[in-house]
């Protein structure tokens, strides 16, 4: 369970999150929609512990524990995961090495033994099959030369390998063709279980046909402006932000 309470965040003296509150119980999928510049990625980054944001008020509790003072890797070890809106290219770092380093770092932090090569490979191969990622793919450097869609699939592959208990997906559907969208959505749905929760950030109602949310929020001007069920997304698609939330859009 993740609880975000009255969160205020600034960048360079500009307030971007202005008292945002949100609670996602275990097992639920919440969607966030909102206009460009509303603060969706900022929220995702602040949850993950990225540098450069000043939290002036509020708190983020993960299973009852505040994570605000934690480094990004400590949050990852607790089970947080962020699928990036813009996955970063890292030249010279092999994708397989990267995955293995990440998984073993998490296991080590949680007092588990490092995986041997064969076990690790089995986990990765399974995830690759789930996401229809080709074999030679992971021989390449992290995200270097990947197409937009391949980068997003790789994010979900990382999620499957790291098996978090709470994942934020920041516009994972953007740039995906229809088939890839289904593959990625299926990759997320496979992980849905009563102990895991998701926050899905998207601009398109269509994604929510594949990943059915329990709750839909509209974020605008740094705050949750409206909360509803999946029909809220349909209403939004039909009428636009102005009509649904008025001036805050």
């Amino acid at each position: 369970m993740i609880e975000i309470k009255n969160l205020h965040a600034r960048v360079d003296d500009k307030e971007i999150l202005k008292g945002l509150s949100l609670t996602i119980p275990n097992g639920e999928v919440h969607a966030i929609m909102g206009p460009n510049g509303a603060g969706k990625s900022t929220l995702a980054n602040v949850i993950s512990g990225k540098d450069g944001y000043e939290i002036t008020e509020g708190d983020i509790l993960f299973h009852g524990q505040s994570v605000l003072e934690m480094e990004p890797e400590e949050r990852a070890h607790l089970g947080l995961f962020l699928a990036f809106q813009y996955p970063v290219e890292i030249p010279g770092v092999n994708s397989m090495t990267f995955l293995r380093t990440a998984l073993n770092a998490k296991r080590k932090a949680n007092g588990e033994a490092e995986l041997d090569g064969a076990e690790f490979l089995r986990i990765v191969k399974t995830a690759m099959k789930n996401l229809k990622i080709k074999d030679d793919f992971l021989k390449r450097s992290v995200n270097v030369g990947f197409s937009g869609g391949e980068k997003k699939r790789f994010e979900i592959l990382q999620m499957q390998v790291l098996s978090p208990t709470f994942a934020v997906l920041d516009e994972t559907d953007s740039g995906l063709d229809i088939d890839a969208l289904k593959v990625v959505a299926e990759g997320v749905n496979m992980l849905r279980d009563p102990s895991r929760s998701f926050l899905v950030i998207t601009h398109y109602q269509r994604l929510l046909d594949y990943i059915e949310p329990d709750v839909v929020h509209i974020l605008a001007d740094g705050k949750i402006q409206k909360t509803g069920d999946k029909n809220l997304a349909l209403e939004l698609e039909e009428k636009g932000y102005d009509a649904v939330i008025g001036d805050a859009a």
């Binding site: 890797e73 949050r75 070890h77 890292i90 030249p91 010279g92």
Partner: protein, 400 residues
């Protein structure tokens, strides 16, 4: 008396042009353009007695085919197609003979001239496509010594040679290495030089290459050890359609200076050149990359690209880069790019968000940065060794 004074008095009676060049100019100072960033003060101030090691008796070569001990070669084995010539045989070979009698004349070549005047070269003739890598080691055993390993290599028409060399030392020393190479038409050369001297040893190497029409040059270099590591590569492209690929990495820590200085003269049409430089500096380390492409008026359709990236891992580290183009032909594609920066914060966050602790994430990024250079090395065995040397460098933290 300083080492240089001693050297000069030793050379005083030597009337050769090369000895004279050194006597007149001494050690290059930063006032000389090619040495602007790399200060040889430490060598100049050294007060060791000048010891030229006496001829080492035949030694074992260990894993190598040829080992220079304090500048003297022991040849243990050479692959088929490689012949070591005696001085008398070499003098009958016009190309090797011209190397033997070469007179340096530029002020910035005074150290090459010094080496030439003091050394007995090892003559290597390559007249086949040699598959196996010739493995060479430069080893300074003697403390407080200056050594002058000297190679003259001729690769004949359509022949090929892969040479992997590794320089290291057991005590404070100065290794001043001279390599003269001729690559005939359609021949090819792959040269890999790893400098990992002891932290108190100075290493200056001077490689001169004459390449003929249709030949291929692949040159890789890495400076890791030493108080000073300077590898100078001068290439004259003397024919059409020569392909050159160079990749060089400087790793500078403590108070080290690591330097690659590469000058290429494109004298004929349709040569393709790529020079790739990577530098990592931490502590008070300094890296230097100087690359110059000269393109003569008749060298049309030259395609020459130079890129240099430097990574500064501490506030007191410093990276100097000087890419230079001097172009007299009008139908050419020449470019260069140089960047200096710190570790990318977005990449760091990406790795940390996946659970990789900060220090490990930083190391992974530095590894990736150098891996882009290592991955260019076609000889897997050599690449593997260099990767291990680099990993040890990365894992060690020292302020020297």
């Amino acid at each position: 008396m300083t080492l240089i004074d001693t050297l000069k008095s030793t050379l005083a009676d030597d009337t050769s042009a090369n000895a004279k060049l050194f006597l007149d100019n001494g050690i290059p100072t930063p006032k000389i353009e090619k040495w602007h960033y790399t200060n040889l003060n430490n060598i100049m101030r050294t007060t060791w007695p000048f010891q030229k090691a006496s001829h080492a008796s035949q030694q074992s070569c260990g894993e190598s085919d040829i080992r220079f001990f304090d500048g003297h070669a022991t040849v243990c084995s050479v692959p088929d197609g490689v012949t070591i010539l005696a001085e008398r045989e070499a003098s009958a070979h016009p190309i090797l003979q011209s190397m033997r009698t070469q007179e340096f004349s530029k002020r910035d070549e005074s150290l090459a001239a010094l080496s030439h005047s003091q050394s007995t070269p090892l003559f290597i003739l390559v007249d086949k496509k040699v598959e196996a890598t010739l493995v060479l080691e430069n080893f300074s055993m003697l403390k407080e010594s200056v050594n002058f390993p000297h190679l003259c290599i001729a690769v004949t028409e359509a022949a090929s040679l892969t040479l992997s060399s590794h320089s290291h030392s057991a005590g404070e020393a100065w290794s001043n290495i001279l390599t003269q190479i001729h690559i005939a038409n359609d021949a090819s050369l792959t040269l890999m030089n790893l400098q990992n001297e002891r932290k108190d040893t100075a290493h200056t190497s001077h490689t001169f290459i004459q390449a003929e029409e249709g030949s291929a040059l692949n040159i890789y270099g890495m400076n890791i050890g030493g108080s000073l590591g300077r590898q100078t590569i001068d290439i004259d492209l003397n024919g059409k359609n020569i392909q050159t690929n160079i990749a060089a990495a400087n790793l500078a820590d403590g108070k080290q200076t690591q330097d690659f200085t590469i000058h290429m003269n494109h004298n004929h049409p349709s040569c393709d050149t790529n020079v790739f430089s990577r530098n990592v500096c931490r502590g008070r380390g300094q890296s230097v990359f100087q690359g110059k492409f000269y393109v003569a008026q008749q060298a049309q359709q030259t395609d020459a690209e130079m890129s240099c990236k430097s990574l500064l891992l501490s506030d007191r580290a410093r990276a100097d880069s000087k890419p230079e183009l001097e172009i007299y032909a009008d139908d050419v594609k020449c470019g260069h790019g140089a960047t200096v920066g710190t570790l990318d914060s977005e990449s760091l966050f990406y790795l940390m968000a996946r659970g990789v602790p900060r220090k490990d994430a930083e190391n992974l990024l530095v590894e990736g940065f150098i891996e882009e250079m290592l991955t260019r090395i076609p000889d897997d065995a050599t690449a593997k060794i260099w990767r291990a040397h680099f990993a040890a460098w990365l894992a060690a933290t020292y302020e020297g």
